[in-house]
């Protein structure tokens, strides 16, 4: 199953730049498309799209979510074995294995070194064999928690598109 880009796409390329698995292709100002073989349905494209042009396979339009409301990975250092599966999976380079705290320190864990790069695709959470990494909502007003779950109502994205101005600039800074 895969997400789809619909007619509303203006070809801004934001989704293409931020897709964690490089599944989106397309020329600037032309409609982009998602490679169905590669899409992992993480919803990053839909969360970014100001035009509400991304649908799930069931036709549910994904709603835009301001970047400040995206969940962030939280690492349980006690569980983490620093096996670097998450670091390897993170295309945006937001995660790294921590440097040793002192000489000869071997008890290191993964850490979120560049939270601003994180696109909240949740690949790290999905692939972590130990369940040591979880995406948690940022501590903000309670309404944002519902938004980040992408439980969007059909056609709600269009309204968000017209309202998008300051936040969209912020989200466009992600991986430019």
């Amino acid at each position: 199953m895969s997400y789809m880009i619909t007619e509303g796409c203006i070809g801004c390329g934001l989704c293409k730049r931020n897709c964690p698995v490089f599944a989106i292709s397309g020329e600037p100002k032309q409609m982009h498309r998602i490679n169905p073989k590669r899409c992992i349905e993480c919803g990053v494209c839909g969360r970014l799209c100001a035009k509400g042009a991304v649908q799930t396979s069931k036709g549910v339009v994904l709603q835009r979510v301001p970047k400040k409301d995206w969940p962030k990975p939280h690492i349980n250092e006690k569980l983490c074995s620093a096996c670097s599966i998450c670091v390897d999976s993170c295309a945006s380079g937001a995660l790294k294995i921590a440097m040793p705290k002192f000489k000869g320190d071997i008890d290191v864990a993964a850490e979120l070194t560049a939270p601003e790069k994180c696109v909240a695709c949740a690949l790290c959470e999905k692939r972590c064999p130990l369940g040591a990494i979880r995406l948690v909502p940022v501590p903000a007003e309670p309404s944002s928690a519902a938004a980040q779950k992408n439980e969007a109502k059909p056609d709600a994205g269009r309204d968000a598109a017209s309202a998008a101005s300051p936040e969209s600039k912020a989200s466009e800074e992600v991986r430019v």
């Binding site: 073989k37 590669r38 899409c39 064999p129």
Partner: protein, 628 residues
């Protein structure tokens, strides 16, 4: 059942074909080097040279690759050994294997030769052959930088392009080093293979498997070897242990002890050069060293590199070793064989037979020599052929330290005679891992069996070879099997009464081991304290895999590889060691410091179920279910 999917690529015709491995093959051979050995027997045209266009090379994974199990990123490359003419399999921990699996393929069977340099690009179940003319001539590091950043990559450096007999293939900073895999890629004009995809490898019993992995990781973390020794010192931590037991090859295996060995030990490396430890993806052991070299963080050396570029060439310059290790990696050359060939050339000079401009005790010119070997410049082209070739041209076979053409790793067989038997019988040649790695039980580990006694060594070698073979075949790193030695011996230390007693008892365990090998399939148990890998295979594939069947899988693997080597012209006469190991005592006046190979070898053949000529008996093959 999820069966493995292989891509058959013919580079001469450009034909690409997707084939699913049959269920009977999958159940019998699982994957990795075992399945690859079977496919080599099926597809390799008999008698064809390793570097001929018709030769076949198989890059494949095991069922556990990419599942998230600890130390499960190792993929395998099987081909005809460039140095020995027998079978070769090389194992690598880079990201390529996992990525190839996510891209929808469990393996590649590559034949033919491309007219121009080629980059095989595998994405989401598709294989493309791209032109790589622009990459040709670049080193392994630059080649990888030129490929898409997110792909898992497998590339060769200049050494592979110039068909250096011990060229390696590089994935990330991990290397499939031995047997000349880079030369085979070079001969087919394959500069790079890269893969990317997002399909998660199938796990049959996901819930149980996840619980199992959590327990296994904590078991590995608690074990003194995988949770303490390896993360702190890496394999480099073995230098001082080997040196203390006179098992550290010195001056081209003339001696086994080097006074200044501590200067190149793992402890010194950790104290003075180490920045942090790191790992292959998915590995909680984290034995990789990261060191600073000329202001850049690079991969540090393993024990074998330290030993062979250090004491074995009578030198102890850590900085030069780090540089040589790095240079070999970017040129795409095996450090063990390169250092072994150089040590042989040094002894040729010492004896006044030939002069390659290298001499014992001197390492400052070796980086330059490495570049010349990789580019096959002038007389250095001869060094690129390995020590067997050199000894055939210049003489000195008695001190050319190889078995079947493959240079020996840094364990002195005369102080670890089981390792000597392993070197002699290993399918790859003088390889410690394919040879059963008895050195770990004899001279460099916590347990110490009587290292000079041939007693029980044949049976233990067979057992260890089988076990390691099966661990490799399922996609695991052999270091994850080090928990096989119970933690208590590490805690007590090698000199404790109980540890010594255990070692002594194990020296007499031969008949018991042989009995266990014979009744293996009846061992319906899985335990963390034996081989947890068997349980992992069971949970992932649904095949009823228990410790006994797992060891039997290894036996099948070893015999298949043996059959391939025999078919390609190797004989029992190749199961041998240089005269220095079997005839010259390491310590003058101590007749027991030689490898009593003639005592161990017949026992070994018998335990394996082979005849006097080292050929597997029909009965053995029937028992293993191998059809030729």
């Amino acid at each position: 059942m999820n069966l493995p999917v292989y891509a058959y690529i013919n580079l001469s015709t450009g034909e690409l074909e997707k084939r699913t491995i049959s269920e009977s093959y999958f159940k019998k051979y699982i994957g990795g080097k075992t399945l690859a050995a079977r496919l080599l027997l099926d597809h390799y045209p008999p008698g064809v040279d390793a570097l001929a266009p018709e030769s076949v090379i198989i890059v494949n994974t095991g069922p556990l690759n990419g599942t998230g199990a600890p130390s499960s990123s190792r993929f395998n490359i099987s081909f005809k050994n460039v140095l020995s003419g027998g079978v070769a399999s090389s194992n690598c921990g880079g990201t390529f294997g996992v990525m190839m699996k996510r891209a929808g393929f469990d393996g590649l069977v590559i034949s033919g030769k491309s007219e121009h340099p080629v980059h095989i690009c595998i994405t989401d179940g598709d294989v493309e052959l791209l032109d790589a003319s622009e990459l040709w001539g670049l080193d392994a590091e630059k080649t990888q930088e030129s490929l898409p950043k997110h792909h898992g990559k497998l590339v060769i450096g200049q050494a592979g392009e110039n068909l250096v007999s011990y060229a390696s293939a590089v994935s990330g900073e991990r290397v499939a080093g031995r047997c000349g895999v880079g030369a085979v890629f070079g001969s087919k004009n394959i500069k790079a293979i890269s893969a990317f995809g997002t399909a998660e490898p199938p796990v049959l019993n996901k819930k149980k498997f996840d619980e199992f992995v959590v327990k296994w990781v904590s078991f590995l973390k608690k074990h003194p070897m995988t949770g303490d020794c390896l993360p702190h010192y890496g394999s480099a931590g073995l230098v001082n242990k080997a040196n203390a037991n006179w098992a550290l090859p010195t001056r081209n295996f003339q001696r086994g002890h080097y006074e200044q060995a501590d200067k190149v030990s793992g402890e010194t490396l950790a104290d003075t050069r180490l920045v942090r430890n790191s790992s292959c993806v998915s590995c909680p052991i984290r034995c990789e060293r990261r060191v600073m070299l000329d202001g850049k963080e690079v991969k540090g050396p393993e024990y074998e590199t330290l030993g062979l570029f250090g004491p074995n060439i009578d030198a102890c310059n850590m900085d030069d070793i780090l540089r040589l290790n790095y240079v070999c990696d970017i040129l795409g050359m095996d450090t063990i064989s390169a250092a072994g060939s150089i040590a042989f050339a040094m002894e040729l000079k010492e004896k006044g037979i030939a002069d390659f401009g290298v001499e014992f005790g001197r390492t400052d010119n070796l980086v330059d020599v490495m570049y010349k070997i990789a580019n096959r410049e002038g007389i250095y082209s001869e060094l690129a052929n390995g020590s067997k070739w050199l000894s055939e041209k210049y003489g000195g076979k008695e001190f050319a330290m190889h078995s079947k053409g493959l240079e020996m790793a840094s364990y002195e067989p005369r102080r670890s005679v089981g390792m000597g038997l392993g070197y002699a019988t290993g399918n790859r040649g003088g390889c410690h891992l394919n040879g059963g790695y008895l050195a770990l039980l004899e001279s460099v580990g916590a347990l110490s069996l009587d290292a000079q006694s041939p007693r029980s060594k044949a049976q233990l070698t067979v057992f260890m070879q089988n076990a390691l073979e099966a661990v490799s075949a399922s996609g695991f790193c052999l270091f994850s099997a080090q928990t096989f030695v119970p933690a208590v011996f590490f805690k007590l230390g090698p000199n404790h009464f109980i540890t010594r007693m255990a070692g002594r008892i194990m020296t007499f365990s031969g008949p018991l081991v042989r009995f266990i090998l014979n009744i293996a399939p009846a061992l319906w148990i899985n335990s963390f304290y034996l081989l947890p890998h068997a349980e992992a295979v069971r949970l992932v594939t649904g095949i009823r895999m228990y410790t006994g069947q797992f060891v039997r899988l290894g036996e099948r693997s070893f015999n298949l590889e043996r059959l391939f080597s025999l078919r390609e012209g190797l004989t029992a006469a190749d199961d041998t060691l240089p005269d220095r190991m079997t005839k010259t005592p390491q310590v003058k006046g101590r007749a027991d410091t030689v490898v009593p190979l003639d005592v161990m070898l017949p026992k070994y053949y018998k335990t394996r179920g082979w005849d006097k000529n080292g050929v597997p008996k029909p009965r053995t093959l029937r028992k293993l279910g191998i059809e030729v």
